[in-house]
């Protein structure tokens, strides 16, 4: 079927008449902005493209007590993508205060290791993965930063080159997300889309309601993505569960859907989370999401949001609440931090 390129429509198109246009737009985007890691497995070619582009690339691994998996991640990326092929210029572990030997193991295999609290100390120290990601923008040197979680058992160089590839070969793409378990290029037939529980029950319905184009991002919560610094430094960072969701909303709102790409990385083996933990995660994501609805003026006059998530447990023959205080604090866009502008010679 021949497709004509539709004009950009409001992200919040909800009318039935607009639904078809959104669907067409999504199809077009899926065709042009969805990749498979194998498209970028010729690393010599990637390195050449990187040289032509004149960019530098940093890899950031945020950690908290990851001594069991961090060594393998560091040694594989360092050996394959720094020593053998100079694709990465820097591998850094940014740690939230591990009590185990995470930093020692990472350093022993050649990573640069930093404690999050030691970076921009004048900005204070907050607990959360988003804090590490945000401080990485200041600490790391690369024009492109690749974020990869530290708990991946089946880590492979494709986790980095599969995300960097679209940025090197498609100058209009700014932000590339990973997705998994869907070998698009090597299987046929109809298969369900591949998000986790929170994605399918919470995120995709919310996107479909308010940002329908973003529903095409197959795994919006994946912790692996590569971003150009010019975009990264202009994104606010929720420090907790909402960081990935809010990034997508902000990139989409400021730069449009075509600034986003996604890469199929095949399988990712990692720890499974209990449903109760996913409940807390959803609560944090909702906080970030609803605050975006307000700041993007999608919804007006939002009531003040609560910050206590209540779950319940039975005790003898009665039920009792278990309360979790979850407050999605946000860091401002890094470009607003004077020390950053000074270090990188940036202006607002």
């Amino acid at each position: 079927m021949k497709r004509t390129k539709p004009k950009r429509k409001s992200a919040t198109a909800k009318a039935p008449g607009g639904a078809g246009i959104v669907t067409e737009r999504i199809r077009e985007w899926l065709d042009t902005h969805t990749f498979h890691h194998s498209q970028f497995s010729n690393i010599v070619q990637l390195v050449e493209q990187k040289r032509k582009s004149g960019v530098t690339i940093s890899l950031c691994i945020p950690t908290l007590n990851e001594e069991k998996t961090i060594g393998k991640e560091v040694v594989l990326f360092k050996s394959e993508l720094m020593n053998r092929f100079p694709l990465l210029d820097e591998i850094a572990v940014i740690d939230s205060g591990s009590k185990d030997r995470t930093l020692e193991v990472a350093a022993s295999f050649g990573a640069d290791v930093y404690r999050s609290a030691d970076i921009l100390p004048e900005m204070g120290d907050k607990r959360g993965k988003g804090e590490n990601l945000w401080k990485a923008i200041y600490q790391l040197k690369g024009d492109i930063i690749v974020y990869i979680d530290a708990d991946i058992k089946n880590i492979h160089p494709r986790f980095a080159y599969g995300l960097v590839g679209p940025l090197l070969f498609h100058p209009t793409i700014q932000y590339v997300k990973a997705f998994y378990d869907r070998p698009l290029m090597f299987s046929s037939g109809v298969r369900p889309s591949g998000g986790g529980r929170v994605t399918e029950i919470l995120i995709r319905p919310l996107f479909s309601l308010f940002y329908p184009e973003l529903a095409a991002v197959i795994q919006p919560l994946s912790g692996e993505y590569a971003v150009r610094r010019e975009v990264l430094e202009r994104l606010p960072f929720p420090i907790g569960y909402g960081v990935e969701t809010s990034h997508l909303l902000d990139v989409h709102t400021q730069w449009g859907l075509d600034a986003i790409g996604q890469t199929d990385l095949d399988q990712r083996v990692h720890r499974n989370q209990a449903t109760r933990d996913l409940g807390k995660m959803s609560f944090g994501i909702l906080q970030a999401f609803l605050s975006r609805l307000e700041s993007h003026t999608v919804l007006k006059d939002m009531p003040e949001l609560g910050s206590v998530m209540r779950q319940f447990q039975s005790h003898d023959n009665h039920y009792e609440p278990v309360e979790h205080l979850i407050r999605e604090e946000e860091r401002p866009p890094m470009i607003e931090v004077p020390a950053y502008r000074k270090k990188f010679g940036r202006t607002r």
Binding site: G71, K72, V75, S79, R101, F109
Partner: protein
């Protein structure tokens, strides 16, 4: 030696080169670990080694080797051409691993060791072979002989070295010397092979078995008779001979008569005559038990290797001992039943060396093995030194 220098025609002292080799090898730690992890996580059960072979071959190709191919048996190989190329040294390791494709083959990297399913046998040595081209490049050494790096398929269990045998039978030019590289243990130096018979004795009930007759006890009691008769075979101490009864299985529950029992064994000996004698005795035992109990007893020997190898005074052995001694590694000399046997059977003078220290497991329910990272660079340096000294010996012969 200067950059891109070829091995000189006058003998050099490889022992004097060792510090330089060690230093270059020490820089290879991360590459070694990464190679081992990436190779070890590609499933390669015996007979299905294609994916691992492709990866290994690609690595050799990226390392600048020539003629990097995989053959129809999924052997993978590449050639580093020598300056005169009159002789060829093969460095060989097995590429198959005793793990099903569905098993989680994740390799865990700790600060001092690797842990994973059968990582010791033999992802370790494959990782080292894949790193060799870069190490030679770092050292800027060019051998006079060709160097053939070979991942051999179908070596384990019922594979019976079929991949390696196929490669050697099909090779246009046979290697003139071989180094078999095993994951563990660093310090091993095998220069001779024990002969071996690996097989099963299967006791099976015939279709017309009389289930109702009191005293008919199924396949297990005849199998116990087989075992007790094997126990009465005189196993000589000299020449060194051993009979390993490795596994027995049969039956399904407490009260059902077992329809089948299987005994798995491995017979090893320095003497081909003794192997033949004992094999004949095993045939007699199965026939006797078969007729005594009215069951079908069958001897199935699916792997046969004949003894052979080098003398301890052979220059390859002498040089390897000197290298190990110079590196303060205690040599462990003993005969082996490993894949070196296929080279020896083709008349290719060979030795076997080990890469690092580690723990092998043979328990069915515990497949994780551990390999120490620390000694790996010494193991790699030892291999390079052995290759260089072998190159010199071959060049001297050719001259």
């Amino acid at each position: 030696m200067g950059p891109e220098e070829t091995m000189p025609e006058t003998p050099i002292n490889v022992i004097e080169m060792l510090p330089r080799i060690r230093a270059a090898s020490d820089e290879m730690r991360e590459i070694l670990v990464a190679n081992i992890v990436m190779i070890g996580e590609i499933p390669a059960p015996t007979g299905a080694e294609e994916s691992r072979a492709r990866f290994f071959s690609q690595r050799l190709n990226e390392g600048g080797l020539l003629h990097c191919f995989t053959d129809p048996m999924s052997n993978a190989f590449g050639l580093l051409p020598g300056t005169d190329g009159r002789r060829t040294i093969a460095v060989v390791t097995n590429g198959d691993t005793l793990v099903y494709e569905t098993t989680d083959q994740t390799v865990e990297v700790r600060t001092d060791m690797l842990v994973g399913p059968f990582v010791v046998d033999n992802s370790l040595a494959l990782g080292a072979l894949a790193a060799l081209p870069e190490l030679f490049d770092k050292l800027q050494i060019r051998l006079r002989s060709n160097l053939l790096l070979l991942m051999a398929s179908r070596c384990q269990g019922r594979g019976n070295l079929d991949g390696l045998k196929h490669f050697l039978s099909e090779a246009r030019v046979k290697p003139d010397a071989g180094i078999c590289f095993e994951g563990v243990q660093l310090g091993r130096l095998n220069y001779s092979c024990l002969g071996m018979r690996r097989g099963e004795i299967i006791c099976r009930l015939p279709d017309n078995y009389n289930w109702a007759q009191y005293g008919n006890t199924g396949a297990i009691v005849p199998m116990s008779d087989v075992i007790s008769r094997i126990g009465r075979i005189a196993i000589p101490r000299r020449p060194l001979t051993s009979m390993i009864l490795g596994s027995i299985e049969g039956g399904v529950s407490y009260h059902n008569i077992a329809r089948q029992a299987v005994l798995r064994f491995e017979l090893r000996s320095e003497s081909a005559e003794i192997l033949a004698q004992i094999e004949e005795q095993l045939e007699d035992i199965t026939e006797e038990v078969s007729s005594t109990f009215g069951i079908q007893a069958k001897l199935d020997i699916f792997a046969k290797r004949e003894p052979g190898g080098l003398e301890i005074g052979h220059p390859f052995v002498r040089d390897a001992r000197a290298i190990l001694a110079a590196m303060n590694i205690q040599p462990m000399l003993y005969p082996t039943t490993s894949f070196m046997n296929a080279l020896v059977a083709e008349g290719i003078p060979s030795i076997t060396l080990g890469f690092t220290t580690g723990e092998r497991r043979h328990d069915l329910d515990e497949i994780d093995e551990t390999a120490a990272i620390g000694p790996m660079t010494a193991g790699l340096a030892q291999l390079v030194a052995a290759i260089i000294s072998m190159d010199q010996e071959l060049s001297n012969e050719a001259d």
